[in-house]
Symmetry: D2
Subunit: 147 residues, 4 copies
């Protein structure tokens, strides 16, 4: 379940025909792409554009990805791709995801991905300050937890 | 250039990271998927849902596709996928496309695709009436051409 | 590490250009497709063709998938996709995977996927006997475990 | 039809499940990827590795692509992807393709793609000599045309 103590963004789009398979449903590998689009959207919403991140000389490489498939989705179905931060560290970051039916909110797929910040030279690096600060705004705030 | 004498629809979305390639641009095969999403959107806008089309026992198979690449697009770029009907026949249909930068309107890719209506048994068939009628509304109207 | 007490198959192929991304490496979602191709190959090697499985009225749906990314791969790199059975149950099945550099054997990505057998009507079902028997041949054999 | 007066290469592989769509056939956009893999193979066979081409500071961008769909292909079908050079110019190149059933040789899809050589700075450039010379070997040879 998406957490309630931090920012959860949702971007909606239609399942494309090319994303279906011979079972008549959305092929499972595409949800990994939906997760990615969900975190692109998350970053945009928090004003932490990932394209800038790359231009600064860093990459947020994917170290691990996990998906659990609950309910299949179909061509032309309008779905929501939710994203939040599970954990933020100096050099690493974990995103959580939920893919839902945009109408009913039914959760179809859940997952997470772990990322490590590396420089374009390949060294594990500190997440650039501005990106880190932007991400922090998505986490539970001190003041909030006291209330 | 998109025609001005008929309906042209446009759906907008961001280029996904997964759609880029090692040249740093959107991989050319993805535009074929964008074309498809553009015609899905076109059908939805004209109330001719393609999912219904399939449920009625028909497929609109792709017989031919063509794309011309003019300007590359990049990750996180907001693009518009325009679609219109080039030609509508009893058993066949040609769609035209333009992929543009959503901000500037710069045309990045153009193309077309030809489709044939076949039954699920594999026979070339008449396009179902309701779908055909919906598509006809996208074409130049008698009254219009007189003006 | 791929287990040594059971059958491990390996299919080799080149990374396609379309599978790379703007980081210049193979996009992480493609490994989920490589996993799938690895288990297709596994089934073929054990004479348990999955296309037959579907024609018999069943699907082996994906319930869960996990990937760990260790070393990136690149365009035109020849890779090996290894697959084995982690666990075989009456209605479910877990495959393990290793994606390696085909020359050096360096392990680049590891993962697993869990599957459930459902009928085309959507009911959880027993894995068809012939498929189950074929899969069993990939597991440690009684005689082996005694040695 | 593949020409008989020049080199035509063929690489074979199985249609992947992820490449199918809800029509139960290989999704049409994947053939554009097969074309690309066919020309990667062609270059390898003529000792003109495209990865080297890129490392030399050039890209062979795609200017145009066309595909004609004749017979659908299916999951696990073994197909052959044939490639040859239609036309070789100083700054441009056209490849022709045929996707066939690997067993029967039945032609399923045909197509071509036009490419332009640009430097990494984006300028239209001469195709690097070694690559050009390698490609030339694929064309009809003087001696041959005289016979």
């Amino acid at each position: 379940m998406a957490p309630t103590d931090r920012i959860v963004t949702e971007t909606t789009f239609y399942v494309r025909y090319a994303e279906t398979d011979a079972m008549g449903i959305t092929h499972h590998a595409n949800y990994i792409v939906y997760f990615e689009e969900a975190r692109s959207h998350y970053s945009r919403e928090l004003n932490a554009d990932y394209a800038d991140f790359e231009r600064a000389g860093y990459w947020l490489t994917v170290a691990e990805v996990h998906a659990r498939y609950i309910v299949p989705t179909h061509y032309a179905q309008r779905i929501g791709a939710r994203c939040w931060i599970e954990q933020l560290r100096n050099r690493a970051l974990t995103f959580g995801y939920e893919i839902v039916d945009a109408e009913s909110g039914t959760v179809c797929v859940t997952g997470y991905s772990k990322h490590i910040c590396i420089s374009h030279e390949g060294r594990v690096s500190l997440i650039p300050k501005s990106f880190y600060a932007a991400m922090q705004k998505g986490l539970p705030q001190e003041g909030n937890s006291a209330s």
